[in-house]
Symmetry: C2
Subunit: 246 residues, 2 copies
């Protein structure tokens, strides 16, 4: 048995998220089907990030085991002929048989994309959150800097989490704006359920002047979900980068 | 009767083009349906540009006649509540009853979008043409400059045109590249069937070194469709701007 690591990009619009659900379109389900079509083997891929319905990825990671003789780096080409065109394997390679993508240190970068103009082109409707009111990028950055570091992010976590601890580390958080395109870029070693979307919703409050950066500090310290902003819609979120660090 | 002008943006992915076809999803059909839902009147909009299947628009134009008392500038808001979310009315207003969007001078700008990198994110698959081989932007610009002006563009027109003359005027043509995003921007007072997509296919030949800018001059002068490049796929094309000039 060999273990193959896949770097997976997808448009999440048409999927009920990463995680397999019987009878539902999921990224995990489509990957399992395409591998079976290619190798004839029934497999269950193990994903690194179980993204929600409508969330996109440029670089998620998954492994599976196979007895196929296909060279590790050729699986990307071979699987792309079996997958729908909204899922693409960026690269592939053989890893150690005990390599588990959720038990290895990593830095993930999520981007939350906001189209900040009166009118948003309909071609962007599945890939941007539309905010017509002007957002103060500098205030959002100031609030974002408060979140960098190791903190208990309980206030930035949906109530239905199964996490054992709500302490997480954000290594970088930047808000940039180029013309109408506002991007919240958050890097960290791990994230709680809906954490990036709640950060985005909270920073948008700050951008609109509904809350100050100091309010965000108080919200973080409160450990109270009712003190942070709404969970921003899934379509604006993309898992942009994923680096294993050990 | 009042005549209302609509500025229409759409994601053309799910449509068989602008022009009404019974039983098929078309932009024109959806506009007619949404106006009937709003006013109770059966109408047939007159469009300025009958874009092909899969082609997008930020700014196409259409008129229709109505006895509705809704103020001209309010139709945009009202119709957006009736339209699918891949068609949006950007603005609306009342015009003279004899205003015909195809009988008035205009300058249209089309953009052809190419993603020029080894890997294209699947979120872009409906909005970009993917070319993995490097394209020489400067050579493409040099060839593009040859096409600016008033010429017989017979070599850049699909055979099945019904146009009375194949003489057209291109007022501007620029090829720009920012990171992986290569854009061919073409402005003119009118275009032949598939003209921008054939220009894009021909300039890509030049960008790849398959043809020189001087070959493009010879192809233009030949008036022979077999001398120009392939019709580039619809998904890369967007009607980006539309200005009435009289």
């Amino acid at each position: 048995m060999r273990r193959i690591l896949l770097q997976v990009a997808y448009d999440g619009t048409e999927y009920c998220g990463w995680q397999f659900q019987p009878g539902q379109p999921t990224i995990e389900g489509r990957l399992n089907e395409s591998i079976e079509k290619l190798t004839g083997e029934k497999v269950a891929v193990i994903g690194a990030s179980r993204t929600d319905a409508g969330v996109h990825a440029l670089s998620n990671m998954a492994v599976f085991d196979t007895e196929s003789p296909i060279p590790g780096d050729r699986f990307s080409f071979a699987l792309n002929t079996k997958l729908p065109d909204d899922i693409r394997i960026v690269s592939s390679g053989e890893v150690e048989p005990d390599f588990h993508p959720r038990h290895v240190s990593c830095v993930k970068t999520y981007e939350y994309h906001i189209y900040n103009a009166a009118f948003m082109p309909p071609t962007m409707r599945n890939y941007r959150f539309h905010e017509a009111r002007p957002l103060d990028t500098e205030a959002m950055n100031e609030a974002g800097r408060i979140l960098v570091g190791t903190h208990d992010f309980k206030a930035f976590c949906s109530a239905d989490t199964s996490a054992l601890t709500t302490v997480r580390t954000i290594t970088d958080l930047k808000v940039t704006k180029e013309k109408e395109e506002l991007t919240i870029s958050v890097s960290g070693t791990g994230f709680l359920y809906n954490m990036v979307r709640i950060i985005a919703g909270t920073l948008m409050w700050v951008g609109l002047g509904v809350r100050t950066p100091e309010d965000v500090r108080a919200a973080l310290e409160s450990l109270d979900r009712s003190q942070t902003g709404p969970t921003a819609p899934a379509c604006g979120l993309i898992l942009a980068d994923f680096q294993f660090t050990s």
